[in-house]
C-alpha cells in the first residue's frame, strides 16, 4: 500500500525543516530506566552564568557555600589518608579548593589542609562560575584543574580514577540522583570515599510557606517557587542503591537572618540558586504576590528584632566504594556478647548511681 504524502499540505517554510520522507512512526519508549525531568538544566546553567558574570555580587554571597565547604573538608580530614587525586563534583566557584588551602579548624598550626590532597579536579557545567576565581592567589597553593562538564548528569571519567569524590551544594539540582551516585561509585577507586553535601528537607521552608499563603490569598492557587528537595531518610537508601558501603548521613541546620524577604531572594539569585523547576511559572512573579509574601513572612516567621530567619538544612553523606579488603560486619550469630545484658547492666549502673 502506498503511503499518502502530506508534503503538499505543509507550508513552504516548514517544509524545509522536515525531512523529505516525513512518515508517521510509532512512538516508542527509549530503552533504559525512564528519567524524571524536574529541573531545567538550561535554566540552571543560565542562572549560574548570569550570577557569576557579576563578580562582586557573586563573591559577596559565597559565605554559605564557603562555610559548608569548610565543614565538608573537615570531614575529609577525619580520614587518615593521603588523597592523590580528588574530584570536586559540581564545584560552583571552586569553594572546596579554596577551603582546602586554609588550615584545619581543629589544628590551626599544622599547615593547610591541602598537604593531604595531591591534585584536585573541579568540575562544573558553568564556565563563568568555575573560572570566576581563577586568578586569585589560592590557585597557586593547590594543584587544581578546572573542567567544564557538558551536562552535570553524565560524568566523563574512567572507572577507578579518583581517591575521593567531594560534592558541595550542587546535588540538589540533579534530576537523576540514583544515576549520578552510581556513576560516582564507578569512578571511585575501590575503598575510596564519596563525601557530599546537599540542600534538603525543610530548607527555606519560611520562604516556601510565605509564598504559598500569599498566592492562595492573591491568586487563589499555588505555583512552584521552590524546588522539591530530598529528605534525610531518602539519602541512605539512595547511597545503598548506588552500591556504597559504610554509610554515614547527618544533617546540619544553618539559620541565617535576613533584613527582609527581598534581600534573601536577591542573595539566592546572586548565588545562582533561583528557581529552575521545569514546571515553574514562566515570567516574573507578580508584584502583588511579592508584596503579600514579604509581609506574611515577617508576621509568620519574623524574629522579634524585625529580621527574618531563613533555614538551610544541609545533608552530609559519606559512602565508601566496596572493596574486598574493607572491614565488613560479622556474620549473624557470631556475636560473643549479648547487647541486652550490656544494656541492662548499664541501666542498673545508672540507677545505682542516682
Amino acid at each position: 500500500m502506498n503511503t499518502i504524502s502530506i508534503r503538499a499540505f505543509i507550508p513552504p517554510l516548514t517544509r524545509r525543516c522536515l525531512s523529505l520522507r516525513s512518515n508517521r512512526r510509532y512512538a516508542v519508549q527509549a530503552p533504559g530506566a525512564p528519567t524524571f525531568e524536574i529541573f531545567s538544566h538550561q535554566q540552571k546553567w543560565m542562572q549560574k552564568e548570569r550570577a557569576a558574570s557579576d563578580i562582586e555580587a557573586s563573591r559577596s554571597v559565597d559565605h554559605l557555600k564557603d562555610e559548608v565547604a569548610s565543614r565538608l573538608c573537615e570531614r575529609l580530614m577525619d580520614i587518615n589518608r593521603h588523597f592523590t587525586h580528588v574530584l570536586d563534583l559540581g564545584a560552583n566557584s571552586c569553594n572546596i579548593a579554596r577551603m582546602l588551602t586554609l588550615p584545619s579548624e581543629d589544628s590551626p598550626n599544622s599547615g593547610p589542609r591541602s598537604t593531604r590532597v595531591g591534585k584536585i579536579t573541579a568540575a562544573d557545567s558553568s564556565e563563568t562560575l568555575l573560572y570566576r576565581d581563577a586568578d586569585l592567589p589560592f590557585n597557586t597553593e593547590i594543584d587544581i584543574q578546572r573542567e567544564i562538564l557538558p551536562t552535570s548528569e553524565l560524568l566523563p571519567y574512567d572507572a577507578n580514577t579518583f581517591d575521593a569524590v567531594l560534592s558541595n551544594l550542587s546535588l540538589h539540582w540533579i534530576n537523576d540522583l540514583p544515576s549520578i551516585l552510581a556513576q560516582v561509585n564507578n569512578i571511585l577507586k575501590p575503598d575510596a570515599p564519596f563525601i557530599g553535601v546537599m540542600m534538603g528537607g525543610d530548607s527555606l521552608f519560611e520562604l516556601r510557606t510565605s509564598l504559598q499563603l500569599a498566592e492562595q490569598d492573591r491568586r487563589g492557587g499555588v505555583a512552584t517557587h521552590t524546588s522539591p528537595l530530598a529528605d534525610v531518610r531518602d539519602i541512605g537508601g539512595l547511597l545503598q542503591k548506588a552500591g556504597f558501603n559504610l554509610l554515614t548521613v547527618d544533617i546540619d541546620d544553618i539559620i541565617i537572618d535576613f533584613p527582609d524577604m527581598f534581600t534573601l531572594m536577591k542573595d539566592l539569585q546572586a548565588s545562582g540558586e533561583s528557581n529552575a523547576v521545569l514546571l515553574r511559572e514562566k515570567g516574573a512573579i507578580q508584584r502583588d504576590v511579592l508584596l503579600a509574601a514579604a509581609n506574611i513572612y515577617k508576621e509568620l516567621h519574623g524574629n522579634e528584632d524585625g529580621s527574618l530567619p531563613a533555614t538551610f538544612r544541609l545533608i552530609y553523606m559519606i559512602g565508601w566504594k566496596s572493596s574486598p579488603t574493607q572491614a565488613k560486619p560479622l556474620e549473624r550469630g557470631t556475636g560473643m556478647f549479648s547487647i541486652k545484658d550490656v544494656l541492662e547492666q548499664h541501666k542498673k549502673d545508672d540507677e545505682g548511681g542516682k
Binding site: 490569598d217 527582609d260 527581598f262 508584596l291 503579600a292 514579604a294 509581609n295 515577617k298 509568620l300
Partner: protein
C-alpha cells in the same frame, strides 16, 4: 550598574515604608493560615497596596 536601580530594590524600599499596613495584612492571613482562600484579606491588602503605590510614586 551605577545610575540604575533594580526594580526589586525600588519595590523593597517602597514596601518597607508600609510596615504598619503590612503588619495588619500579615496578621489577617496568619490568624487562620490553614484556611486561606482567594481574596481572604482583600480589604487589608488593598490598603497595603495603596500605601505601597503611593510610596513607589514618591521616589
Amino acid at each position: 550598574m551605577p545610575g540604575r536601580t533594580r526594580p526589586i530594590d525600588k519595590l523593597a524600599s517602597a514596601a518597607a515604608k508600609c510596615s504598619k499596613e503590612g503588619a495588619i495584612y500579615g496578621k489577617c492571613i496568619v490568624a487562620d493560615y490553614n484556611n486561606v482562600h482567594k481574596d481572604k484579606c482583600v480589604a487589608e491588602f488593598m490598603k497595603l497596596k495603596n500605601c505601597y503605590l503611593a510610596a513607589y510614586k514618591k521616589r
